[in-house]
Amino acid sequence: MLPDVKVFSLLSIGRHPQSGRARRAEQDARAVELGLTLVGRDLNLVHAGSAQQDDSVLRQYAGMGLPALTLLEQEENADILPSLAKFLQNNQAGIVLMGVRAESGESSGMLPYLLAEKLGWPIVSRIADIVDIKEGVADVLLALPRGQRRAVQVALPFIATLDNAASAPRQTAYGSGLRAKIEVVSSESTVDDLTLNWQVSPAKPRPKRMKVVKAKTAADRFKAATAKLAGGGGQVLKEGTPAEKAQAIFDLLLEEKVIR
């Protein structure tokens, strides 16, 4: 469907919530699924990490139907951002897909934003689907709470993170995964000094305020149970010039002390 767009799906090693065992990360696997539906076997899979680790999870991703994947070799404590950005730029990536956040490691969810910043590309977060790509512009569906979608247009190249609302990943085939070629690309590792001094300890569950639902009807209860955080205030700006709208956003960010 899209001959000359290079699509990349970034892979991380997931972590099963019950067993803590490595697995395909749910959202990254969705990134592969979307990539496969967009460009089929022309999809590029990239994982930045150590080449020493057990590659069975990477092979699970490849087993979804790809003959090869790229492993950007990084040292244990490396910050993968610089080399990943360089790799994507050098390879003329058009669309870069990945999960919202990793299931292991820092799991800060910052990588897509930092990548976008570094590359100077737009980012669309929590997408459900990419419907069409025409003349360098993609029609993207954002996932909103309760099954709602918002259609937006983004110019290529861009970065997108996948919401759980995107199509579930297809089954992986052990045999083809086993035969997939893992192309190790050695790249410069930038040591992440900050994390070196971190102490990692298991998280303690935080006390949670019980949600008291004062719904009268079943429909209300259903809504309350399924609603994602919808944010209280806010203001929809429909009138005014783009400059005025930008000013309004800027003012808000100042007020909320997001920027100083």
């Binding site: 099963h16 067993s19 089954q171 085939a173 052990y174 045999g175 086993l178």
Partner: protein, 652 residues
């Protein structure tokens, strides 16, 4: 007379043609993968296997077994004598009389074949099979007439006049040609008589020779993961007919289309798109090439697949089977209950073939239907099919005071809990069993969180990689501890541990008695270690779990246990080795291929028809399936539960 030279010529020609056909057919089988077979020993053992093992199965249908002995035996003898008398021309009255005798025997048999074919049951194939009895009759009658002069009953040149002579010669030659074409040519060129030729060789080169002489061989053969996966051009499992072992192909060719498998298949009865007979015939179409246009038996029941007209299923030895020959849903409908294998007089291995093809679908294509992928992912990531935390495996036993192997290292009995640990209904069975073990003062321990799924479901769903990984890890765990007996309440785990774990080069289970809990409890009762009081409820029937009965031959222990409670079992029509599956095996509830009815409902009807108020089972999966049938219905209880409720506590 012309017949003097025409008859030998005809016989010789057809023998030669049959010889050519035989070579051609053998070459078809040789397209399969290599498999080590002891050729000489197999050939030597063949007559005994035929007379003993095959007839043991045929014997279940007395009518057919006598018919077959007369017809088949008569034919083999007659054909040998025909060659001596009519081809080589040995002039011996004794031989001729023997030939007359053999032909009469064959004639009698053929009459019964003919009678059965007058109004054939639906399981039998029609088409070419309908003409077979006629040709059998013609063969015996024609050669009878032709042998009369040699036996001295009729003078060699009795007077009929020239015209009469010509006419008789013409008629007799035509009949000889017709019947010999069926019997000799058809034997190796794909006619109904092929079953005799391929069947004999199949018996000789069977892939599971352990089955002969009353033995049992039910464990699936492991996929060679190391070699196969990485060799170029090879796939895991069976994609094309040529990926089967050569003797599997030979086995398919042995099918007589008797449809006994079809009559026993629960999936077929439930209207799911599976018919084991058609499946085997499709395999033949696959390696011989062509379409299924000559198939004249019942088809796959499902409408969607039935929509395929006869002749639309195409195959070739190097064509992907699921690409036009067989619908994957056919393969996923099977519960691996082995009823077909048990019933097949030709000892064909349907389940092996089905799982072989599933392996390709799962391991190479990633196309396990419905919940299959999710369940497999869970098993891989958590060692249990529903993705529960592995650390919660022993929660069910929080109040059971059971020793953990990790702590005691050594126990008389290891209780393999199985994934029933995560299911509240199954936990009742586990608790009952523990109650009984304690009452009998058994020195028992469990693995606790160190236990993992046995791999049964993964293997039946075709994921042999995951099965092997689980098996190896379980064996490594088992190897750390010392125990004499391993007992489990789950026949599926029982089967894996007992019959399938042996392929992975571990001695963890060497010298260990692997037992199902009914067997073990029966030992305890017999040894007087358990006191139970008589059962006073209503009528009880017993459902044989496939993986306990047909897979492991344990039909007696559960019945003896129930008898020890004074229960007289109201046997169902389909019980023992003919037990009908509950629908829960082979991952069938996971792949969930729709049919017209549910297998569990049919089984519950079997139960109801005995008038029983309770059905005793020996399997948590059967319990789940049968309890899933809507009420009102008889109560479903595991034998351990029934026994525990009748336990007399002995206070010491």
């Amino acid at each position: 007379m012309i017949l003097d030279w025409l008859l030998p010529t005809l016989i010789l020609t057809l023998l030669v043609l049959a010889g050519i056909g035989a070579v051609r057919r053998m070459n078809m089988w040789r397209a399969g993968q290599a498999e080590k077979v002891d050729i000489i020993a197999g050939l030597l053992a063949m007559p005994k296997r035929y007379l003993h093992d095959l007839h043991h199965v045929v014997e279940r249908d007395k009518y057919m077994s006598r018919t077959h002995v007369a017809t088949g035996g008569g034919f083999v003898l007659a054909m040998a004598l025909v060659i001596l008398v009519h081809l080589i021309g040995i002039e011996s009255k004794v031989l001729s009389w023997m030939l007359l005798g053999a032909l009469s025997m064959m004639f009698c048999g053929a009459v019964f074949v003919f009678k059965r074919r007058r109004n054939p049951p639906s399981r039998l194939s029609k088409g070419p099979w309908m003409r077979l009895p006629k040709n059998l009759l013609i063969f015996s009658v024609t050669f009878f007439v032709l042998t009369l002069p040699a036996a001295g009953v009729l003078p060699a040149s009795f007077t009929l006049g020239v015209m009469g002579q010509w006419f008789l010669t013409l008629v007799l030659s035509a009949l000889v040609l017709m019947s010999l074409s069926e019997m000799l040519f058809g034997m190796t060129w794909g006619g109904p008589m092929k079953h005799a030729f391929a069947g004999a060789l199949h018996l000789a080169f069977h892939r599971r020779p352990e089955r002969f002489g009353g033995g049992r061989s039910t464990g699936l053969k492991p996929v060679d993961l190391e070699d196969n996966a990485l060799a170029s051009g090879k796939v895991l499992g069976v994609a094309k007919p040529s990926d089967f072992k050569w003797n599997q192909l030979l086995g398919f060719d042995a099918c007589v289309q008797c449809g006994r498998c079809e009559a026993m298949c629960p999936a077929f009865a439930a209207g799911q798109p599976l018919n084991p007979k058609k499946l085997i015939q499709d395999m033949v179409v696959g390696f011989a090439g062509g379409t299924d246009e000559h198939y004249a038996g019942s088809r796959y029941p499902d409408k969607a697949v039935e929509g395929k007209a006869v002749g639309e299923a195409k195959g070739g030895v190097d064509h992907i089977i699921t690409d036009g020959l067989i619908n994957p849903e056919t393969l996923w409908s099977c519960t691996t209950c082995r009823a077909c294998v048990e019933e097949c007089p030709m000892m064909i291995e349907h389940v092996d073939a089905i799982v072989d093809m599933r392996r390709f679908l799962t391991l190479e294509k990633g196309e396990t239907p419905n919940k299959g992928a999710e369940i497999l992912d869970n098993i891989i990531a958590t060692d249990n099919p529903n993705g529960y935390a592995p650390a919660s495996r022993t929660h069910w036993a929080a109040d059971q005071n059971l020793n953990l192997m990790k702590d005691v290292k050594k126990a008389e009995v290891l209780f393999w809990v199985s994934d029933g640990a995560f299911d509240m209904r199954s936990q009742r069975i586990l608790r009952s069993f523990v109650t009984l073990l304690k009452a009998a003062n058994v020195d028992v321990a469990i693995l606790g969180d160190e236990e993992r799924d046995s791999g049964d479901v993964a293997r039946r769903l075709g994921d042999d990689a995951t099965f092997q990984s689980l098996a190896k890890r379980n064996l490594a765990t088992l190897g750390q501890y010392e125990f004499k007996t391993l007992v489990t309440t789950d026949p599926h785990a029982f089967h894996c541990l007992k019959n399938e774990y042996g392929d992975f080069g571990s001695d963890a289970l060497e010298g260990v008695d692997v037992l199902h809990h009914t067997t073990f409890l029966n030992q305890l009762i017999k040894a007087g270690r358990l006191q139970v009081e008589g059962f006073k409820g209503g009528k009880v029937t017993y459902h044989d779990p496939c993986y306990l009965g047909r897979y492991n031959g344990e039909y007696e222990a559960p019945r003896e246990l129930l008898a020890s409670l004074g229960i007289e079992i109201e046997e169902m029509e389909r019980s023992g080795y003919r037990s009908r599956c509950c629908g829960g095996g082979g991952g069938a509830p996971i792949t969930d291929i729709p049919g017209e009815r549910r297998i569990a409902d049919m089984r519950m009807e079997d139960v109801v028809s005995t008038g029983a108020e309770m059905v005793a089972v020996g399997c948590q999966q059967c319990t789940a399936m049968l309890e899933g049938v809507v009420e009102p219905r008889p109560v479903v209880k595991d034998i351990a539960e029934i026994l525990a409720s009748q336990l007399i506590e002995v206070h010491s």
